[in-house]
Symmetry: C2
Subunit: 364 residues, 2 copies
DNA sequence: GCAAATTGGGAAAGCGCATTCCCGCTGCTT
DNA sequence: AAGCAGCGGGAATGCGCTTTCCCAATTTGC
């Protein structure tokens, strides 16, 4: 038994398909109450479910919102996805998910697939990359998005505008002040740390990472400090872990090992800034595996303020980002932002916690 | 400029729409190479993207997989979603996301929406509830799913079969041995713990929670111990936190407070089993906020082995579940499982870590 | 009281594509 | 050399729905 159709409902109710359509969906013209009732009853008894594909074809709009993320299991993207989902629900649309691991080629394919499905809008959440290796991929992605926009699609981008977009038409970006916030974090840390600073960054060319690094360096400069060393690694927990191992070796070489804290003129404690929370956690794990303790042997800060990580000990200093709201704002037509081209901004908040506390003796 | 159509491509290539269709999609009949080339070039120059809705209408299949979760930002669901996404990609389909906060009514609506979109299959990941308040909702959900199946849909369920399904036709469940694993966990913990056991459970009637509780109690019984006290609360971090506060009070009353460990005849340490990791983390936070330390003042174990939580300290004892694989297996037609009705099983693994270590003096 | 405007319903034309059927053609058999 | 299979392409139909257009029956205006 195939799903029943509008025509069947109409026949059962003794009306024309046109009338049935009018009563079952919010048409401008509403048939008489008696007829409406009859149709509704017929639909009910048949368990009629409109065929959204056919509706979409006829109306040329689908009620779909495409969402592109690197990895849905990454808590950063998961939080954004929650916001997108909430906004979609508000517009009563559904969200179509695509994960791309950040590959521009996959992103292009996802955009094409969304376009094929005639998604009303698409939000693309992963960080953009400016690596030369990705140059062609980025151009193709931009071309695909431009085409999508020309055909009437709306796209929301979180973070950075897509590199190489032809015009602003149809784009809408949620700006995250990564650079400013990182600078502020650096300044606050500089106020209480005497030691050297090190940055654990993502791959070079990853815009979000680059921005945070640049901001942090600027903050240090503002405080009259020399620029920090930058370690480039993967933008995930594993990357953080590897960098952490390297730093552990460095710290160990200086003599920060073992329980006995006070060696001859203990070198000032290292202060590590990982460009996102997950990397910070990885780095922490690495340091710990080498017997180092936070914040006694090194201070560490992250970025994002991932919810699941808030109970982590020592509590991680970070920059809180309203991830869910970012997701909500990123869907075109939602939020109080300007409709159409333009940038909606959100703000974050530097949140200092135990992992960067000065002193560093383990408290109770 | 609206997106170009097959007909336009055909006209540009000087062929009929039928031929164009044949070359641009994997039809059984492949037109001659010269014609094919011409069509392909025309399509390319027009930037033709097939209208998936129209294709779906014509073929009556959509290439969509519907996924229902409680909350996509919950790491448990996010991990499953990743698996589903991977399987979908393998079948080159896209996944449609719906979040329902566990409400059967919302789930029913989501199923209807998926049916309307003619999703090829749907996987429903949230825990089923047997509460009487949800009884009608569950029945309606089951009815909707049954109808979906009768119309040729395939549904994959993780955990429990949907309560009230009329027949097995079209269903496919990924069974998680919650009860057995919880029992095993209890037995292993019982072997090294002298103190009392307490269970922090989700709301009564939540099948996953109930299973884990039952299993844990059985494990205790196997070890010759009396059943543990059960605290029912929310199935999330907040629930765990609240229960943790209550337990902290209980422990405090016994005298486990402060730094000085050895009071007169220190009572045996409490061993807490939270039915999922996130709740365990919440409980831990609560205990800590009261000055209690894990595992010194209480042992605690969770369930799921959430990836993001693995770096948590003290490392959480838990039961590892192959979440991503569960997601993969849940999508009908994927995995090596039996196609059609049937249960595919996965196994987990009790993973004892520091949070339940006996002794409990803080190590280095 | 009659023309004009309004209402309420049906017929029909697509939306963009897949697919079945059909037809002219080439190449083969006997 | 005539007949037949087989192939390559096009015309036409239908997927399920929306929406314009059209027509008959009422209301309204003066």
């Amino acid at each position: 038994m195939a799903a029943s159709t509008l025509t069947e409902v109409a026949r059962l109710a003794g009306v024309s398909p046109a009338t049935a359509s009018r009563v079952l969906n919010g048409s401008a013209r509403t048939p008489g109450p008696d007829i409406a009732e009859r149709v509704r009853k017929a639909a009910d008894s048949l368990g009629y479910i409109p065929n959204a594909q056919a509706q979409g074809l006829a109306k040329s709009s689908s009620g779909l919102i495409g969402l592109i993320v690197h990895d849905i299991a990454d808590p950063y993207f998961a939080a954004i996805a929650r916001g997108v989902q909430a906004a979609a629900r508000h517009q009563n649309k559904m969200v179509l998910l695509a994960t791309t691991a950040g590959s521009p080629a996959d992103e292009r394919a996802a955009v094409a697939a969304f376009a094929a499905r005639r998604a009303d809008s698409i939000v693309i959440a992963g960080s953009r990359s400016a690596r030369t290796a990705d140059k062609q991929g980025n151009a193709e992605l931009a071309a695909e998005l431009d085409r999508y926009c020309r055909n009437g699609g709306r796209v929301g981008v979180v973070g950075h505008a897509v590199v190489g977009a032809e015009s602003d038409e149809g784009y809408h970006v949620v700006g995250v002040p990564n650079e400013e916030l990182a600078a502020e974090l650096a300044r606050e840390l500089a106020a209480s740390h005497a030691g050297e600073f090190v940055i654990i960054a993502g791959p070079e060319g990853l815009l979000t990472s680059d921005d945070r690094v640049r901001g942090f360096q600027r903050g240090l400069a503002d405080a009259g400090l020399p620029p920090a060393d930058v370690l480039h690694t993967g933008f995930d927990r594993t990357g953080g872990y590897e960098a952490g191992m390297e730093l552990a070796a460095r710290i160990g070489a200086h003599g920060g090992s073992g329980q006995a804290g006070a060696e001859a003129a203990a070198p000032p404690r290292l202060c590590i800034f990982a460009v996102n929370d997950v990397m910070a956690i990885g780095a922490t794990a690495a340091l710990r595996s080498k017997g180092l303790r936070i914040p006694r042997d090194a201070a560490i800060a992250g970025f994002d303020d991932i919810e699941t990580l808030r109970d982590f000990r020592p509590a991680l200093s970070t920059v809180r980002l309203p991830l869910e709201e970012i997701g909500r704002l990123a869907v075109p037509g939602a939020g109080s932002g300007t409709v159409g081209a333009g940038t909606v901004g959100v703000t974050g908040e530097v949140t200092l916690r135990r992992s960067t506390e000065p002193g560093g003796e383990p408290a109770s």
